[in-house]
């Protein structure tokens, strides 16, 4: 469903990705973990061509992302939902209009069908009653749920979650991850979840991929990942990374 082969990306003299390769099968939910500033969000943006890699190729749904024409890319993107770190909701629109927006702009559905679809999505994320509110009136958790509803509005086959629990308290964060997990199971989506919620995310994903020093150093099931003797993985899983390596990651 998603395949990346030898991706390289630099910003000036700073090499962020140095030969990233990985694969996600249809229906799989994969957690992408790694140090802050290590290029996880960047990798998601490369998958949808919000940015272009300096080198390497990406295939999504069998299409070469870099070689796709504008029309092909548009079609491809319509099969992908993206939940941004901060939600990226349009502040000038209500919750309802935010979710309805992609349907109004990119489908031929009538207003009646749009209402039915939006109501369905808002019920799925438990925010039916908040449809008239503006993003500024929502809590962090609610924003992430609306962002998910908007990402699901066009029935995507793939959903990419970019640190969706950042800035949320542990209770809300758990509720949001439970919701993502439930949605994934119910809709049988393929998903990549960038998160630092370890070990919580191990309960909801089928695979864990770890990005370290610009490369994917492991792609394993959560059980095998946790049992890995690799000191880098163990440091990360147990939260015992040395101060030096943490600082190094942050600087990158």
């Amino acid at each position: 469903m998603i395949r990346a082969d030898n991706l390289w990306k630099s910003f000036g003299s700073q090499e962020v990705l140095r030969g990233v390769s990985f694969e996600v099968q249809p229906g799989e939910f994969v957690a992408l973990i790694g140090g802050s500033g290590g290029g996880k969000s960047l990798l998601l943006k490369l998958l949808v061509r919000l940015l272009k890699p300096d080198h390497g190729r990406i295939w999504v749904c069998g299409k070469d992302v870099a070689a796709s024409s504008r029309k092909e890319l548009e079609l491809l993107r319509s099969r992908i939902g993206f939940v941004f770190q901060g939600g990226a909701l349009f502040d000038s629109m209500t919750v309802y209009d935010n979710v309805a927006f992609p349907l109004r702009e990119k489908t031929s559905l009538g207003e009646k069908d749009i209402r039915r679809k939006v109501t369905e999505e808002l019920e799925l994320v438990g925010l039916r009653e908040a449809e008239h509110k503006f993003p500024a009136q929502l809590s962090g958790g609610m924003i992430k749920r609306v962002a998910l509803a908007r990402a699901l509005a066009r029935d995507p086959e793939i959903v990419l979650f970019d640190e969706p629990t950042t800035g949320l308290d542990p209770v809300v964060s758990r509720a949001v991850l439970d919701l993502f997990s439930a949605v994934h199971r119910r809709l049988r989506l393929t998903g990549i979840l960038v998160s630092h919620e370890i070990p919580r995310i191990f309960e909801i994903v089928q695979k864990v991929a770890m990005l370290h020093e610009g490369r994917i150093v492991a792609v394993e099931s959560p059980g095998r990942f946790c049992a890995s003797p690799d000191p880098v993985i163990q440091q990360f899983v147990n939260g015992k990374a040395s101060a030096r390596s943490c600082l190094k990651e942050e600087l990158v």
């Binding site: 943006k45 919000l50 992908i80 941004f84 990226a88 502040d91």
Partner: protein, 269 residues
């Protein structure tokens, strides 16, 4: 030996200086090229459907209607001060009768378009930069792209079109109110006859003057929309990035308005 060493050092310094100058020049040329491309793409999208009419109207209301009070206030005081300054000088040479044409031509040809554009830059241009900058930093622009929508068409084109529509109207309002301000001072305060004020005006003001003012307003409208949208669209991340983009946009637009004013004046009048 020492002379050779000094010559080598001088050579190294010169090379470094030339390299850094060249890099800065290339960066500047690249920036100009990018902003030119941005304008071309915006104009292309402005001329081809679909145009987001509702957003154009909303932005026209924001740039045009909401700027009316400040334009009216600036206009009346500008007209009043021009009349107040000009009247004693004109009386000294016995030409008070041409106060009307002097006020109206100053406003229609020069002060109206320029001051209106500067006021709109300060009031609406800065808001456009901040809004687009925040959309950029909060990834709303990326979200539009991922929905298959062209952010230029959705965010930039409505602002540029609205600015093009609003500036000529605001300029006319500025001119009319400014002329009334001149009337208040020249006729009501300083005793010039009302008939003379308006009569001489109709003799001296030609359609070419009015059209010249409108062309200027259109050029300034395009400048405001282009520079403010470009700066917002490419603003750096964080509050500091948006704030820097806003300041830079207001300064650049204001300077460009004055530069452009010279060239349009030279071309039209």
């Amino acid at each position: 030996m020492g002379a050779i060493h000094n010559a080598k050092r001088l050579n190294t310094c010169m090379t470094r200086w030339l390299t850094s100058m060249g890099a800065a020049l290339m960066e500047e040329v690249g920036r100009l090229g990018r902003s030119g491309m941005f304008l071309c793409q915006t104009l292309l999208h402005s001329l081809t459907p679909p145009i987001k009419g509702e957003r154009v109207l909303r932005q026209t209301w924001f740039i045009g209607w909401k700027s009316m009070p400040v334009i009216a206030l600036t206009g009346i005081f500008t007209g009043m001060v021009v009349a107040l300054q000009a009247f004693p000088t004109l009386r000294r040479v016995g030409s008070e009768a041409i106060l009307g044409p002097l006020v109206s031509l100053s406003l229609i040809r020069e002060l109206g378009p320029v001051l209106t554009a500067l006021m709109v830059t300060g009031r609406a241009g800065s808001a456009i930069v901040a809004e687009i900058g925040i959309m950029r930093t909060s990834e709303q622009i990326d979200a539009l792209g991922l929905m298959g929508l062209n952010p230029l068409r959705y965010v930039v084109v409505p602002n540029v079109l609205a600015s093009l529509l609003a500036l000529p109207v605001l300029t006319v309002v500025f001119d009319v109110i400014g002329i009334l301000g001149g009337y208040l001072i020249g006729v009501r305060l300083l005793g010039l006859s009302g008939g003379t004020y308006f009569g001489e005006m109709s003799t001296h003001v030609e359609m070419k003057d009015i059209l010249g003012g409108i062309y200027k307003a259109l050029a300034f409208g395009l400048l405001i929309g282009w520079v403010c949208c470009y700066k917002g669209y490419h603003s750096r991340f964080g509050a500091e990035g948006v704030s820097a983009a806003t300041t830079q946009a207001v300064v650049d637009t204001s300077v460009l308005i004055l530069v452009c004013d010279y060239f349009v004046t030279a071309a039209v009048f």
